[in-house]
């Protein structure tokens, strides 16, 4: 079956997003319930404060990098929807980057289009940018970093990586797989890395354990050290500049809050009721460490198993990171939705019926949680126990989907060894 070409896809997606932004403006003006996300109002207020020469942190609940407020300053003098257009444009850029990455890996056009469709027509993703959520920008940057690494532009990749960790802390989890990928067998001075073609995807166990051994032998290679130094410099430079401008308020709201956040209010996380029930006493350091241990173990095992297939590694790490986190809000799902299209061409899972089952299990568990959440928040029923049980069920659904995807994935390292005589270079 011939699918529409990529250009038509992007044009249609752009049109859909413009329509939604316009509709959103109408709904905000004429209906009690707003289409626009509360976060967008926070960004806009913070941007207006910046235009007045004040700190964006004077706006309560603004917990982002000042960069977000800076790029939204045109909200005050062009139009209040400027930000939504910017985020939706990033959303389209993510679609374009997905195609670029899949093309670099030799995926056929049809499969590429299907994968891009999964992002562009996911109802969750096309509403998130049009409602004014800034996650599409983060997703676009992460995909661009993947492209930079694949093309051997390590300096640029490192700069963007430092910037994205400053904007949103969670991409720090990708540091280890990136370092593992910057293997001296893949990255050599003066040579572009050679990418494994989709048509010849396969792997061998020995290679994996060899890689680990090589990693520990030669951990400090030029590309690894440079990548680490450049990204760390960019991160600390941004942190330094904004600390100079906005002092402790910036440090607390944009960084420390996210590192220490324990929200007792109900959310998808299995920890929310445990946090609420223990909120009146401080958690001991040992308790905090123990609760972090499952997350740590999962991240380490995923990285050391799949690092060479780093788009897949990023995806499973992100799903695990979100599932095991102390707080889960719906916007976190975008973090792995943007990586899902990158792994689909390597999955042995068919849509009928394994794929559909995964989708139904995940959405079903989420809907079940939302039902109890509605009973608590909007009907005032004492259903904390049921809601917590629903969060356990949602956690189980996430684990099930993650394990299914792992089991049905064709592990395929991105790069070939450059030393072999049969190296195939991508032009």
């Amino acid at each position: 079956m011939e699918v529409m070409n990529f250009r038509s896809l992007i044009i249609f997606s752009a049109f859909l997003r413009v329509l939604l932004i316009v509709y959103g403006e109408w709904q905000d003006t004429h209906m009690e319930v707003r289409y626009t996300d509360v976060d967008y109002l926070v960004f806009s207020d913070a941007a207006a404060l910046v235009v007045d020469g004040k700190s964006p942190y004077k706006r309560s609940t603004y917990r982002y990098s000042p960069l977000i407020a800076f790029i939204l300053t045109p909200n005050s003098f062009i139009h209040r929807s400027w930000g939504k257009f910017l985020f939706s444009a990033s959303d389209l850029l993510v679609g374009y980057f997905i195609r670029t990455i899949l093309k670099l890996r030799g995926v056929p056009e049809n499969l590429t289009i299907y994968s891009v469709l999964v992002w562009l027509f996911n109802p969750f993703t096309f509403t998130i940018g049009t409602r004014g959520n800034c996650e599409p920008i983060i997703c676009a940057i992460i995909l661009w970093i993947i492209i930079c690494i694949m093309r051997g532009n390590l300096f640029q990749g490192a700069v963007w990586y430092g910037l994205v960790v400053h904007m949103r802390i969670y991409p720090i989890i990708y540091a280890l797989p990136i370092v593992l990928t910057l293997d001296p067998n893949h990255f050599q001075r003066g040579k572009k890395p050679a990418i494994v073609d989709w048509n010849s995807r396969q792997h061998k166990l020995n290679e994996t354990s060899n890689r680990l051994w090589v990693f520990f032998q030669s951990i400090f290679t030029r590309s690894r050290i440079l990548f680490g130094l450049i990204s760390a410099t960019v991160f600390f430079f941004c942190t330094g500049i904004f600390f100079y401008l906005y002092e402790w308020e910036f440090l607390h709201e944009a960084l420390l809050y996210h590192l220490t956040r324990t929200d007792p209010r109900h959310n998808f996380s299995i920890y929310f009721y445990h946090i609420y029930l223990n909120y009146e006493r401080e958690f001991a350091v040992l308790e905090k460490l123990i609760s972090f241990l499952p997350q740590l173990i999962v991240q380490i095992v995923l990285v050391f198993r799949f690092a060479q297939d780093f788009p897949f590694c990023f995806f499973v790490q992100t799903v695990a990171f979100v599932a095991f986190n102390k707080v889960i809000t719906a916007q976190y799902f975008v973090w792995f939705f943007c990586l899902l299209p990158l792994i689909l061409p390597w999955s042995k899972m068919k849509l009928k019926w394994e794929g559909i089952l995964c989708v139904l299990v995940w959405i079903g568990a989420q809907t079940h949680w939302l039902f109890w959440g509605y009973m608590l928040e909007f009907k005032g029923k004492q259903v904390f126990l049921q809601l917590w049980a629903a969060s356990l069920l949602f956690f189980a659904a996430n684990i099930y989907v993650m394990i299914t995807i792992i089991r049905r994935h064709t592990y395929s390292p991105v790069f070939k060894r450059l030393v072999t005589s049969r190296t195939k270079k991508i032009t």
Binding site: L111, P294, F324, F378, A396
Partner: protein, 295 residues
């Protein structure tokens, strides 16, 4: 003796004159003290929180009686009658609306020369809060002429970590909105409120009780070149409030769940982590692709 008597009389007259002078000066300055308040602050509660860090009912009442003693407006001596007819908490769940039906009776002849607004101050109990941005949005839509929240307006803190807050709402009283025989205003004031996460309990619900609001009428004499303002408070005579208390039952966590929830949460996390661990360890090692990918 005569001279001494004359001196006593002189001192007495001087004393009386000084007292009268002081009295006249006081009367002249009394309206200025809260005219000043309204010149410096749009909201009464703002002035309270300039002097106090947290809301204490006793301190707030003292503040009202000392700073806002009423003064006559204009040339006539009038006293509006303020009453809260009905109070209700509408809605279910964590987001509700506190409505108050307010009646303000005033002599019709004084209305034309005065520009008045009703001020309702809700001293919210611990456990509920108002969103200042939501109030701002309502003001922008013309529901109120001014509305704001003061005190602890942190939207995210649970009750055990939060202090109380106050909502102050201003509504213009225009001659056009007079009801019935043109001698009273009847207002329905609806304030959106949200419940904080309640302290843990045994029974699963926490009771939050609302007190009566403080009601004021603030007028400015348009004919007065100095634009003096005057205020009438519901602590004066002639106020009637609704007899029954408004109660909000907020769901709260149950203490006896603590152990089982903590244990099962950690077991779930460990089982989840082990499952992922096993899936990775037993991941099919050799997977060679032959043929075309099927979607």
């Amino acid at each position: 003796m005569e001279y001494q008597g004359f001196r006593v009389l002189l001192h007495l007259r001087l004393g009386i004159m000084l007292t009268l002078l002081a009295g006249i000066t006081y009367c002249k300055h009394a309206p200025a003290s809260f005219s000043e308040l309204f010149r410096r602050h749009k909201y009464i509660t703002e002035a309270y929180f300039q002097k106090h860090e947290t809301l204490i009912d006793r301190a707030f009442q003292d503040f009202i009686s000392s700073e806002l003693s009423h003064v006559f407006c204009g040339k006539q001596n009038f006293m509006p009658k303020l009453s809260v007819m009905q109070r209700q908490l509408i809605g279910e769940g964590s987001h509700r609306r506190l409505t108050s039906s307010v009646k303000i009776e005033i002599q019709p002849e004084v209305i034309s020369s005065l520009s008045c607004e009703a001020i309702v101050i809700e001293r919210l109990p611990s456990g509920v809060f108002a969103d200042p941005f939501e109030l701002e949005h309502l003001t922008g839509r013309g529901v109120f002429s001014g509305a704001s929240a003061f005190g602890d307006t942190d939207l995210e803190l649970p009750t055990v970590r939060a202090n109380r807050s106050v909502v102050e709402v201003h509504v213009d009283l225009s001659p056009n909105s007079l009801s019935g025989n043109k001698n009273s205003w009847e207002l329905k004031i609806e304030i959106p409120l949200h419940a904080r996460y309640a302290p843990l309990g045994k029974h699963g619900y926490t009771r939050v009780e609302f007190e009566s609001p403080d009601l004021f009428v603030h007028c400015v004499d348009e004919g007065d070149t100095l634009n003096q303002s005057c205020i009438f408070s519901s602590t004066d005579e002639g106020v009637r409030t609704s007899p029954h208390a408004i109660v909000w039952e907020v769901p709260s966590g149950i203490v006896k769940h603590t152990k089982i929830v903590s244990v099962l949460t950690f077991i779930a996390a460990v089982v989840g982590a082990l499952s992922v661990f096993m899936a990775c360890i037993f991941y099919s090692e050799v997977s060679v692709y032959n043929g075309t990918k099927q979607s």
